[in-house]
């Protein structure tokens, strides 16, 4: 590890204070004075319409943009003092479209690119790539050309190529775009497992079921500011907030809000959760409960 023990300016994984970003051309404010603290191992979602400042915020987190005011400290490092390349060992950024980053002749070489750039030894690179291949289940594809594999696999290769650098903080931009349910499901599982291994995960997404499924904390952005920072349940239950941001809760949460919630039931995030609550109320505990569906 090149910079494994930074002079920790903050024990937090992400510590953003009063960060603003104004485009150098034309005084357009893209982010207006944002505060965000994320503890190591948290898994958070950022939602909001295009132009709300989500992408600007995440670009500040990995140093692609530098705050025009305030501070952004990620993994104990002040991003203003480091180049994007120097931030790479600290924070991984998975771009939305894997086609924007894949270029190598084989998947194996693609995965080696990042670790080599951050100056690891060949032995260490081999270890990390093997680990990423295993983690993402890419064993059958390592000799394939990244553009020859299917789009879902390409997406996984894109994420794996970042995870192979073993960044303690991982940002994913719209991981479910253009993916079917099956792939989204796989990606959700991987995000959870990464978090379980101690990675801090930041997921920018419009996909409400995805957020309901994996994140513990939702940051809602509107007009370049953070307007809410709460659990998915609290956010989805806040009708005015959802209306203000033109966002829609997952269908099952909507159903819960109009049925069991007024009776004191949970703001359910999954059909299984709501079903269990309804069954309890109708006096049919899950005596014959099986794992048939879910």
């Amino acid at each position: 590890m090149t910079d494994a023990t930074p002079s920790a300016l903050s024990p937090l994984a992400i510590d953003v204070r009063g960060a603003r970003y104004v485009y150098p051309t034309g005084n357009v404010t893209a982010l207006g004075g944002v505060d965000l603290q994320v503890k190591p191992g948290e898994i958070i979602g950022i939602i909001g319409q295009n132009g709300s400042g989500k992408t600007t915020l995440t670009k500040l987190l990995n140093g692609l943009l530098k705050p025009t005011a305030g501070t952004v400290i990620v993994d104990g490092v002040d991003t203003a003092k480091k180049s994007v390349q120097e931030m790479a060992p600290h924070v991984g950024y998975v771009f939305q479209n894997p086609n924007h980053q894949l270029f190598a002749r084989t998947v194996q070489m693609e995965l080696e690119f990042g670790p080599r750039n951050i100056g690891l030894s060949e032995e260490e690179i081999a270890v990390r790539v093997a680990e990423a291949v295993e983690f993402f289940g890419l064993q059958d594809y390592i000799e394939e050309h990244p553009y020859r594999v299917s789009f879902p696999i390409r997406k996984l290769v894109g994420i794996a190529s970042i995870v192979a650098m073993r960044p303690p903080i991982l940002i994913l931009d719209e991981p479910s775009t253009g993916q079917d349910h099956n792939t989204t499901h796989v990606i959700n599982g991987l995000m959870r497992r990464l978090r379980d291994q101690g990675t801090t995960v930041v997921c920018v997404s419009h996909d409400m079921p995805l957020l309901a499924d994996v994140v513990e904390r939702v940051i809602v952005m509107k007009s370049t500011e953070i307007i809410a920072d709460a659990s998915p349940r609290e956010v989805f239950a806040d009708k005015t907030l959802m209306a203000r941001t033109n966002l829609q809760a997952p269908q099952v949460t909507e159903i819960a809000l109009q049925t069991v919630v007024p009776l004191g039931g949970p703001v359910a995030l999954t059909p299984a959760e709501l079903a269990a609550d309804i069954a309890m109320r109708t006096g049919r505990p899950a005596a014959a409960r099986t794992d048939a569906v879910g």
Binding site: G178, I255, T282, R284, A286
Partner: protein, 288 residues
Amino acid sequence: MPEPIIAFDAVTYTYAGTDEPALHEISFEIQPGEYVAILGLNGAGKTTLGLCVNGVIPTMLGGELEGTVTVGGLDVSEYPVREMSKLVGVVFDNPEFQMSQMSVAEEVALGLENAGVPYEEMKRIIPDTLELVGLAGFEERSPLGLSGGQQQRLAIAAVLAMKPQILIMDEPTSNLDPIGKQEVFDMAARLNSERGMTVIVIEHEVEVMARYADRVIVLDGGRVIMNGTPQEIFSRVEELAALKLRVPEAAELATILRTEYGDWDGPVPITTEPAVAAVNDLLGATRD
């Protein structure tokens, strides 16, 4: 029974340079004015199927097509794409890839210019079409300066100007934010209900399709494996789960209640409102 506007008869298609057919023995019919959702995993053949309808397959992409695709009574393999485009408009997932002009008006005009429509007529058609997609007054804006939702509606306007009877949208909202998604789906629903346009949407968002579609066709491995009303299809929760496809959460809820708790007897709801009503009935019945 009216004449179907689209008919696939035992269509098998193999892309040039590949061995495995992308579509196997596909047969189905679509009636004029239907709103059809096509579901399936990535690689199931959804896009290929869409390209067969406007004749890009086989006339532009080559490959080997067996069986016949008939659209508006015409065999698509016998007409150039530009002829078929008077019947069928297609838009793809990335609206920006479909833009080529300096201004919104010119983008809409392109198809008309190529068809030799006189200037006076264009002056009438363009504002009308922009009005239809909710972009009235955007004539002189640059397509590249529009939001994603506006760009996608412009891409749709550009094909609508040719007055097709069928609109095919291939994952039209996958690159859009929630506002953009809603704009596009609302517009498609209006074209379908008010103008009687036949709409075919290739989509992963089952909750939206449950609300709008008259029919759902499920593809898997290049074959049509389900074809029916949203109510019929989305009630088959276990089968769809086995195919790794999503179902509306309302349907999933009802199915869990039935299979795990024996707590659901009625039909499986596929949209929010009937699910809410049924759950409240269930809860009300126990409280009494």
